[in-house]
């Protein structure tokens, strides 16, 4: 007890010093932090949305739509490939499978070769070749049945999520807000958290739109009640583009001249009458293609279609050669810049639906922080007074290490970049109560040994030694609960689990090592004959 090895003293002091330095930035204002020496830690604790206000959205990616699109495109690819080999067939999609029915069954072998060639290996990496996207079988009667593989769908789903996250990030960054958190959650879900933002409608407008843009030629002279000729499709006009006497729908050729993928830039601009419009620029290939098509179709109408709605259907008055253009429509400054942002950021590969939404206003956030602070400080003060009254000098040591303990929790939280939430504050306050437990176990043990007639110094020794195994058992069990909470908890609950787990670790360190060191210093200096405990 009395001879505490020097390396241990150095280590304990060093660890606590580093931990405390990591906590310091939390007590400085941003201005003070700017003048703070560079070699010291600068990170502050990240506040959860419940403490600083903001929007939390959990969105589900519509994977059935992804599957449907994939089936459609696979069917078209294979059909075209087969026709290129002069194989005559009919194809259809039923129950998520593609059926190819050959007119001449003797071409079956050749057809299967073509399908073999159309298999794509997806999700490949340096180490693996990936998985086949489709598999096929031949039914009795010679019908070839192609279906998407399970593994391929999983890979495709992951791709869609990753792409969606990219697009969402670009869109939110374009809004100029700070530090959004966008991440994959489980399978098929994306979590978006935007701190300091309290307009969920606006946020959903920005990230909820698929923003699929296409340019398609209008098939003229087809009335609203006429049948749509093959190779064409009908789209509704946007509300702002409907005029009395004009049809509400428009029929266009299925073939897309260009899509949003060919855009390199888009944004708010004004036409000659000073009305807001969206200007855009194509990439090189897109510009060339657009020039070709407009040259050949002067005086025809083309439609600009966004997410299944025609937002504009201008006449081609002269070939558009510069590779750029404007979209007119009934835009306001706001809607035009919003559309510009969406086009710049690109289309989402799949539709997103909001399954969970939480918005905390900035007032509530600051109220929560205030309440949490008050509760923590008063709770801490009351606990400290009680401990001092119970243990006297030893209580002072406990109170000191308890303060260090709290600083260490903040230091570790800041360094890990963990998020402090309202339940997290509860976790800290609870740690204050429970951190004392290790000290209590030790002091009660010292008291017991002392009253049994042991000498002062050896009771101190015995107290620390005998309490140790109990402290381990008691803390490991709580730690297990914290870990499981972290694994299964979501959002704010995770924050609680993190602070609880960190609190257990730091309280073990401070109660067992640090308080022991201080008490041994005290014992060496005072050589107490009697213990007041």
């Amino acid at each position: 007890m009395l001879n505490f090895p020097r390396w241990k003293i150095i280590m304990i002091t060093l660890l606590s010093f580093v931990g405390i330095m990591m906590a310091v930035p939390n007590f400085l204002t941003d201005d003070q932090l700017k003048n703070y020496p560079d070699f010291l830690p600068h990170k502050k604790v990240t506040l959860g949305l419940d403490l600083q206000g903001g929007v939390h959205l959990l969105m589900e990616v519509d994977l059935t739509e992804v599957k449907k699109e994939k089936l459609e495109s696979k069917r078209a690819d294979i059909r075209d490939a087969l026709r290129a080999e002069k194989i005559v067939l009919r194809s259809s999609i039923r129950n998520d499978t593609i059926h190819f029915n050959l007119t001449d069954k003797s071409q079956l072998e050749k057809a299967l070769d073509v399908i073999d060639d159309s298999i794509e290996m997806i999700g490949g990496s340096l180490t693996g070749i990936g998985t086949a996207d489709i598999e096929y079988s031949v039914e009795p009667g010679g019908v070839i049945v192609v279906k998407l593989t399970e593994d391929g769908l999983i890979v495709r789903g992951d791709e869609v999520i990753t792409q969606s996250i990219e697009v969402i990030r670009r869109r939110i960054d374009g809004m100029g807000t700070t530090e959004p958190k966008i991440q994959k959650q489980g399978t098929g879900r994306i979590l978006v958290q935007v701190p300091g933002f309290d307009d969920p409608q606006k946020l959903k407008q920005i990230i909820g739109k698929t923003a699929k843009l296409s340019f398609q030629l209008v098939k003229s002279a087809i009335g609203p009640l006429d049948r749509v000729p093959p190779g064409n499709e009908r789209f509704p006009m946007a509300e702002s583009e409907r005029y009395p006497g004009a049809p509400d729908t428009i029929v266009v050729s299925r073939r897309k001249i260009l899509t949003g993928e060919n855009l390199v830039d888009a944004g708010l601009s004004y036409d000659q009458d000073n009305r807001p419009v969206v200007s855009f620029r194509f990439d090189r290939i897109g510009g060339k293609k657009f020039a070709d098509v407009t040259r050949k179709n002067v005086n025809r109408q083309f439609a600009i279609i966004l997410d299944g709605v025609v937002i504009s259907a201008p006449n081609i008055q002269s070939p558009i050669l510069g590779g750029s253009g404007i979209i007119t429509g009934n835009f306001t400054v706001e809607t035009a810049s919003e559309l510009g942002l969406l086009l710049r950021a690109g289309a989402l590969p799949a539709r997103l639906t909001v399954v969970e939404e939480r918005t905390v206003g900035p007032d509530l956030g600051s109220d929560n922080i205030e309440a949490g602070k008050t509760a923590a400080l008063i709770g801490l003060a009351a606990v400290m007074v009680y401990i001092f009254l119970t243990y006297g000098t030893f209580g002072l040591v406990t109170n000191f290490v308890l303060t260090v303990n709290l600083l260490l929790i903040f230091g570790i939280l800041s360094t890990l970049g963990a998020t402090l939430t309202m339940p997290g504050i509860a976790g800290i306050v609870l740690t204050v109560g429970m951190a004392v437990d290790a000290n209590v176990l030790i002091f009660e043990r010292i008291r017991e040994e002392y009253h049994k007639g042991k000498e002062a110094l050896s009771s101190l020794d015995a107290g620390y030694d005998k309490a140790f195994s109990t402290i381990i058992d008691a803390n490991v069990t709580t730690f297990i609960a914290a870990l499981i909470l972290f694994q299964f908890g979501s959002g704010p609950i995770k924050g609680f689990a993190v602070t609880l787990a960190i609190g257990i670790a730091t309280s073990m360190f401070t109660a067992v090592s640090m308080s022991r060191m201080i008490i041994s210093f005290w014992a060496v200096r005072k050589r107490p004959e009697k213990l007041k405990i």
Partner: protein, 315 residues
């Protein structure tokens, strides 16, 4: 003079009251089940799905007026209640068929000014879809079950299976009574409640383990002492620690309950209850259960402690 809530060298015969404690616990468990099946739990939107809006008003809000204004929207069962203060109102409703969440919120925002004077601040809006709420329930139950399971394994490993059994019975007891308390008081049962239950599991276990640790130690020390006396001695040995830790934790929790804001009310209430129940169960349930299961006391007659792992302090 130092403060002592528990006098030194107590000899309270806790174990002698065990029959009474069993009856008390059994009655409370039956009542908890009764409440649960008759009244159920007041699930928050985390577990039930739905829409919740918290608003702040300038003056005290007229709950009745808000309720009647909202009922004119014909959106089914709309709950309106004060949330901590007279100018803080919580509105809760189910998902509306055929309307998106935004449309519902829009309608509510449109009608509220007719029932509330002055500015309305929208403090918080939450919506949870039904698939998500189902998963949250599943995850919550999973977490509690896993935590209890993991702890059973740990105690089994560190002590003996009899101790593991006792600890788990005490834990299940605590969890049931906590859920019963939520049913009785109608406090909202949400994700933080699950966190509270898990913390109670941790705390109660902490308490049980401290008592068990002492029982194990005394089993080695007093090999001939009758089991009843040995349990009584162990509980008394650890009594002042039990009280001390409970009091410090309770001080912190009461501070949270009264000062921590409305958001932590349910959590701290559950925890306060849990501290009482957890402490009670360690003394009156977990310890006497060791009388039922046959303890192999010979295991403690050998000095090498085979079967147990001893953890030594780092010094």
């Amino acid at each position: 003079m130092l403060l002592k809530l528990v006098p030194e060298n107590t000899h309270i015969k806790f174990i002698n009251y065990r029959k009474f404690a069993y009856v008390l616990s059994a009655v409370m468990i039956v009542m908890a089940f009764g409440m649960y099946f008759s009244k159920g739990l007041n699930f928050g939107i985390d577990f039930e799905g739905g829409i919740m809006i918290e608003i702040g008003t300038e003056g005290p809000a007229d709950i009745g007026a808000i309720r009647s204004a909202l009922s004119s929207l014909k959106m089914g069962d709309v709950k309106v209640q004060e949330f901590g203060a007279a100018n803080d109102v919580l509105i809760r409703l189910e998902h509306q068929e055929g309307l998106t969440v935004d449309e519902v919120v829009e309608k509510i925002r449109h009608i509220l000014p007719s029932a509330i004077e002055g500015e309305i601040s929208y403090r918080r809006t939450e919506t949870v879809g039904s698939t998500v709420s189902g998963e949250l329930i599943a995850d919550g139950i999973m977490a509690v079950v896993l935590a209890i399971g993991a702890v059973l394994i740990y105690i089994w490993f560190r002590f003996e299976w009899q101790f593991g059994m006792g600890a788990v019975i005490a834990l299940v007891h605590d969890v049931i009574l906590t859920i019963g308390m939520f049913s009785l008081t109608g406090l909202e049962f949400n994700l933080s409640t699950i966190a509270a239950i898990l913390t109670i599991v941790g705390y109660s276990l902490n308490d049980t383990v401290v008592v068990y640790d002492r029982i194990r130690e005394n089993l080695r020390k007093y090999r001939k002492m009758p089991m009843v006396d040995l349990l009584t001695l162990s509980i008394n040995d650890t009594l002042s620690r039990t009280v001390m830790t409970s009091v410090t934790t309770l001080i912190a929790l009461f501070s949270l309950f009264f000062l921590g804001g409305e958001g932590l009310h349910g959590f701290s209430a559950a925890m306060i209850w849990g501290i009482f129940v957890g402490t009670y169960s360690s003394i009156f349930i977990a310890a006497p259960i060791l009388l039922w299961v046959e303890m192999r006391r010979e295991a403690y007659d050998v000095d090498d402690n085979s079967g147990n792992i001893e953890i030594l302090p780092p010094n």
